[in-house]
Symmetry: D2
Subunit: 366 residues, 4 copies
């Protein structure tokens, strides 16, 4: 495992810069015989793509995916099916506008990776953040579709993986109003329709003033059997934490009760177990579906905090590559709350981690 690869036996490698000719992902280890069409991947990509509302970047990217390898179809098959060979997916970059970024060539944008890339590599593609751009997450979403299908294939039934925004800025949803059906009905993937309305006002204010807001994303996987994951460094929650923290701008990760667990007593925290329908049934899910790094059969619950977009209008103190003090104000087409577009990315990462663990489990335990 090096720098741009994730996973053990269901493994993917992404490549591409924000303003290069294209970006893509190569997925290796996918089981053979799975029906996989470009349309399915495209549908998922369309959820993440720029320009879908005024609350996300206005960059115009069709994010049209090409499937370059790993599937095969002839007149005897019912469509393209995976062959077990690596699946290469590519998305051309279209709306690059490199000139927009000429001013960030010499100044490090606070909160961005400009300074650290220069510190590490000594040379960087500064256009749109280059490799550090969140455009890379399009490749994750595309790979996530393959993962979700592989996971259903291996489990023998399709799990349900859903994600939503449960907090924008300091404004949390009301859990009593939580409704997955609401998620696709507002531009924020918010499961609480009342909160969604309020967030609209908050974010519009931030957007108009050239400011930005953070958010918290929640991802839930239902229908995952007990037994996925492994001690001690192949823990399911460990990999979920790794996956979530690898998403741009994420600064915190929780499983189940998360940080609240620290405030509970042992009696409050440990989920009691009963039998229901001849199967183990937990009376609560503070564990978030993982005990000892292995799934319990309950919902897997992952949450992660996304910092506010660092590209803001207000002038900020910074330095130049040459080491001189200056200021920078980031104009351009930025997401006022990057957390929104991180929602499908979070779901994709959940699928990718679970697919890897499902295959790893099958390797060791049959």
């Amino acid at each position: 495992m090096t720098y741009n690869t994730f996973g053990r036996v269901f493994r993917f490698t992404t490549w591409g810069e924000s303003h290069g000719p294209a970006l893509g992902v190569v997925i290796d280890g996918c089981p053979p015989g799975i029906l996989l069409t470009a349309d399915e991947i495209q549908t998922a990509l369309d959820k993440r793509k720029p320009g879908t509302s005024k609350f996300v970047t206005q960059r115009k990217e069709p994010d049209a995916v090409k499937v370059l390898s790993g599937v095969f179809e002839d007149d005897t098959t019912d469509g393209p099916r995976t062959t077990g060979a690596p699946i290469s997916l590519m998305i051309d970059n279209v709306d690059q506008r490199s000139k927009d970024y000429a001013d960030i060539r010499d100044k490090y944008r606070p909160g961005h990776a400009d300074f650290t890339y220069d510190a590490k590599y000594g040379f960087r593609d500064y256009r749109g953040g280059g490799r550090s751009s969140a455009r890379e997450t399009a490749a994750r979403v595309a790979a996530g579709v393959v993962a979700e299908k592989a996971l259903a294939h291996v489990l023998g039934s399709a799990p349900v993986i859903r994600a939503c925004l449960v907090q924008m800025g300091s404004h949390k949803i009301d859990r009593a109003r939580f409704d997955w059906m609401q998620v696709s009905k507002n531009p924020f993937w918010c499961p609480d329709p009342v909160a969604a309305k309020e967030w609209e006002t908050h974010l519009e204010t931030a957007r108009k003033s050239g400011s930005s807001m953070g958010a918290v994303v929640e991802v839930v996987a239902s229908g995952i059997p007990a037994g996925l994951g492994a001690p001690v460094y192949g823990k399911l929650d460990q990999d979920l934490a790794s996956a979530a923290m690898s998403i741009n701008a994420v600064k915190g990760v929780e499983i189940g009760a998360g940080f609240e667990a620290a405030e509970l007593s042992g009696e409050e925290n440990a989920d009691e177990i009963r039998i229901k329908n001849d199967a183990p049934h937990f009376l609560s899910n503070r564990a978030g579906g993982v005990l000892g790094g292995i799934s319990t059969g309950q919902d897997i619950v992952l949450r992660f905090a996304v910092k506010p977009t660092s590209s803001i209008l207000a002038p900020r103190k910074t330095i130049t590559r040459a080491g001189e003090e200056t200021e920078i104000s980031t104009k351009g087409r930025h997401d006022p709350c990057v957390g929104i577009r991180a929602v499908p990315v979070g779901a994709a990462m959940m699928a990718l981690v679970l697919a890897d663990h499902a295959l790893m489990h099958r390797a060791q335990c049959g």
Copy 2:
């Protein structure tokens, strides 16, 4: 990377069960020529070992380490030095009392990995939690000493890696009183002497009633140069999240501002940069020392939430292996707050991640 190995080029593999004859770790990739004595490792292990106060388990384990390979000494050397070969460290288990655990053979302890191990493997060493026991973390602490020395060797100067408890239950420290010098002066590794006093009361109450408390650990690495880490799946903060979440009972992880970052505006969150002493100087550290997955040169700040010990006296609803409903009350020598002993483990994991990244950086960037 499979189930019991962590790291890329500075890599370690742990083995051993709570009640087996021994536990250990094999560290591979350590640079040659580093002075490494068993005494140094022992000193670190003594911080984590059981029985040091009434607030930790009363199991009596000397946790005496043996260095079995990877170092060499003759009459021309000033002590044992690493040779570049794998370093094998072993700790005998002494105080096992297997009979204590006979009652957990057939009942799944809520909040423990008993059920999930059975669900996964169909067969388990139930004694003391077997492989899922926190005794495994002794191996991490031992490996952490090697990592810290390797890191200093590669960086050319010794970073300072420190850890403490910043919250017990719902009781947080007062940041205004934060003092690293206090950490070793109380049984909680607490940097706030006032809070330490209060915690003593809280934890004593919990302990006496057979209950338990959660906690939050903070780990800070100072003296780490800018440039360690890598996009996109080799992010420094990603690996820190993975490392922290791999520790027993951890349910949440934060870097820098963490979940609070979600509540900040872009202006508040992004750390501004100035020049100080001819070097980049950040005016704040909400990033926790990592931007775009790469270190900024500031303190690396990691926090993680530890759930309350699940082994408590109060009877809890559970089921048996045979699928019958029952209750269990966990007697025995348990930590009333496992977060305390997670402090040196957190510091060790920080060192292990940083050593791996320092070597990886050297591989790619010289």
Copy 3:
């Protein structure tokens, strides 16, 4: 490391089928700041591409490479330089003629992977061998260029990596006539001009009769310092053996004296050492430049045997997918001696292994 990835820290992943839209490679871990143009890669690809003489397949593939990521150029740079991000290279498939392969859909070609792919995956892209086609080696040659530049960058001086054919069928070169300058002067990469002439006759006879010939390739790397490689499972010769055996149709691998070493006495085999120009100097090189898995500073000498092309005109006994006995005669545009086109592939694999080891060495030993 899974199925389509090679290397540890200088790592590449290939993708693509013989008759899919394209094939490619993603290279991760390349040091930043290295000048890398598409032209350089193209020059290497042209050596391997089909249709260059009547002794190789007449498939018409321009094998034009596109560099899609990982390099950056602006008006301040002297050309495109690597950034440390993954380098994605793609080659479109042009001359696919899928109809040529309709007859191999149901019959397993002896000596090919048709049967084994079906046995493993149950479903395969049969066109031109799909993923098992030697077209995949174009991706290796492209990656090899990057590896060679990375290696020179890390070593501080450019090693010389050369490959040639030392045997065709049972006809070996005369070592007394070995001359690297001859290699590019005949269509066989043969270092012995007399042998090259004779091989022309032999291969023409085989080609005309629809038969094929095997070959032995030798790859030599000069200018590699002592110290690359590692015990015990990161041996330089081990990785070279792995690399060579991963090339299509390779059935044997040797380092230095190879199988002949088995026939020597200890006195004859072990290379004696003297001092020359203030440096260790070996009086012979039966070790092939590797002792204990680590380079000695002498030439690294790798040889591998390539079996004769299995696609031949003579009818051969085989079975159908349905399990019926039948015969097959393979028409089409095949290499009468695939060993010829394996020569640049062998050189590329040497460069890829050495680059990985040079980076690994730098990681551990600075």
Copy 4:
């Protein structure tokens, strides 16, 4: 995968030096529920251990194995069974005689890794070759037992893995007399009783004169189903080549016809296929049981060449660490033909590679 680990999902890491306190191996990824006793491992180790005849080193090592983790037994089980946790095996070093090696401290032994270790690490454990000693192969043999059991467990039936010596010096066996039953009846693991007699004379002559001989080992695995292995860099034969070349003193590797394949025509080389007992049946096995990197269901046939022991009595030209020319004559208890003791090691590596591939296959293909 770093320096001392082999395998993907059935993975082992060895540690230990020739004259350290012990050596060992940690095996990770083994399926749970497999009966595994120390006695079984001991039986295998006894085949490789020193001092069994005058034709191997007279070092007296009991090579007694301890199983430290990964198995569990209580009064309800029929013996110790694997739990899925890492299996740690340790062998104490007993007969070390460090003083024997005092003279090699400053002189590099030709044909040994002394010079290259120093070139790489700058510091080494010179006693008995330290980490480069063939004593490390005891750990492989121990791990091989676990692999063989895991393989049988996963396949549902026990394959037969056998190894023998087919050549000593220039003296090959007569294939017409090949008989596996003979292998255990002579001190050379020779399947040809006539050759075994002759070798006795040859080796006795070499031994008495302080010289040494090379050898060729053949390993055959029967009962392996079609479908194990994977393109393109997870080839079964590639991993076998890697495994074989990782064994001390190995300089060449062949699969099936090996180097002879280069001399065959396409007609002669490609194995024809018929149906026999309702299953595919190959009329020959020049492929050695692998096509396109995937097993065909035929015997897997691996051969490797072992160079003659470099530790010989005759004085050899060499240099000192300080760079001065000198001579060295290696006294001590050395194997006159290390190829003999490489036989069980070859069988173990075959089992280890196959177990890994069986698990990998199950991961991807169920």
